[in-house]
Assembly symmetry: C2
DNA sequence: CTGGCCTATTGGCTAGGCCACTGATCCATC
DNA sequence: GATGGATCAGTGGCCTAGCCAATAGGCCAG
């Protein structure tokens, strides 16, 4: 059994420190000498930690200049592959439809009582959020996360996490449309009902309709430069 | 522009050396002191290179023992997340069903003439392969890759690539069953017909049936320790 | 044969130092 | 006044030397 190496701890301390201080891309880390003494490690060890962070793509170390943050933290190759393209929204809809429809069906089959409690809680949170005039972005995310958890598939869950940042962006755009949060909430209710009734087909259909509704926004927005991809 | 760091060169030399000598998982690298002097760098620098290789997952450094190769090179986090579990086959079926069903539907909508040519070619390759008594694993893979390409979605394609190694394993098991390659080929034909006819629903249904057929094997194999996950 | 100890080997980490690169400043030149 | 080169302080890159800690295998006592 290999124990945690010091450089790993240091790397984590650094990332934590970055988060705490709200540092963003382009910001600089303290000089190695200072940072090393502040963390109570040698410069060599700190250097190892920086190598690790550099390999992961979190920072870039520039000789003679300093260590600057990339902000990319550690994005999956999936996300990287799609970020370059400007017309990514349709693709996000496609993959959400593929994954979440299946997830909804599995959730209907496998959900436990606890899963239902979590889903209901997310539903309540979104309702309350909307009552307060919010868009309910976080609650929306919470709901989908709860459904994903109820599907009890690590692989599907991990894949959803990989593209979470992409989905979040589209989610914000969608929920910014007037009347959309209420609409979305109704969609969530239908999905929840089907999951509660343990009806996979209905859950899949409800989720599909929900994702489709979101896609309308995307199409509206992409209308101008829509290409051969007829949907 | 930041020039190449020494540790990067060292890491590359090491990986090259591994390839040249045909080292495999479980093999040991020379001791740090020896390796460092042989590469003409200090132990500190070599240590940085090893950290980089460790972060990438190519090696694991064990205190007091040595540095051993993992052979995993660089697998996606999705794959890593699932490798730990022994009962991964059901989950692979789930995600294949989710992704490939959607991919088939999209392929039916978006396929070009060239896409069809590629799909037909894969079909022919599989047929010929089976005639020769092979299992047609490569041709099977080729077919699914061609369909994925025809869906014209970078995101879905990249996601499929991420879990490709997992699918490949299940594929080999499936096609090893007697009579299975022929069965699989028929499934491919049905999928191809639907895609050629540009019928999304039929393509999705055909792909779903195809994946289900594969899942039968998996269930058969997992029968003994099947848990609450009723399917 | 078993169990515990010893030791050679190997990686973990530190300390201290010199070198190379970067960027800003200052100054001579035009 | 504008331009271009020299300078210098700060920063990372890399090295040497050394001690500490974990591992594995052999040795010895029981």
């Amino acid at each position: 059994m290999t124990r945690t190496r010091l450089y790993e701890q240091v790397a984590e301390q650094i990332t934590a420190w970055i988060q705490q201080n709200g540092l963003e891309a382009g910001d600089r880390l303290p000089p190695e000498r200072e940072l090393a003494s502040r963390l109570g490690v040698s410069r060599a060890t700190l250097s190892q930690a920086l190598v690790a962070l550099e390999v992961v793509g979190a920072v870039v170390v520039r000789h003679g200049d300093g260590t600057v943050l990339t902000g990319k933290h550690s994005e999956s190759r999936i996300v990287e592959a799609i970020r370059a393209h400007s017309d990514r929204l349709p693709e996000i809809i496609d993959i959400r439809d593929a994954l979440e429809t299946k997830i909804a069906a599995l959730a209907a089959q496998r959900r436990t009582k606890d899963d239902l409690v979590a889903i209901d809680a997310a539903l309540d949170a979104m309702e309350e959020s909307i009552e307060h005039g919010d868009r309910g972005v976080d609650a929306d995310e919470q709901f989908h996360a709860a459904v994903t958890a109820a599907a009890h598939s690590d692989l599907l869950a991990q894949t959803m996490r990989e593209i979470a940042s992409l989905i979040r962006e589209s989610r914000i755009e969608s929920l910014s449309q007037p009347g959309r949060p209420r609409n979305s909430l109704n969609g969530h209710r239908a999905i929840t009902d089907a999951i509660r009734a343990q009806d996979p087909e209905a859950a899949a259909a409800a989720m599909h309709a929900h994702v489709e509704m979101v896609s309308d926004v995307a199409l509206l927005r992409d209308q101008g430069r829509d290409q051969a991809q007829d949907r």
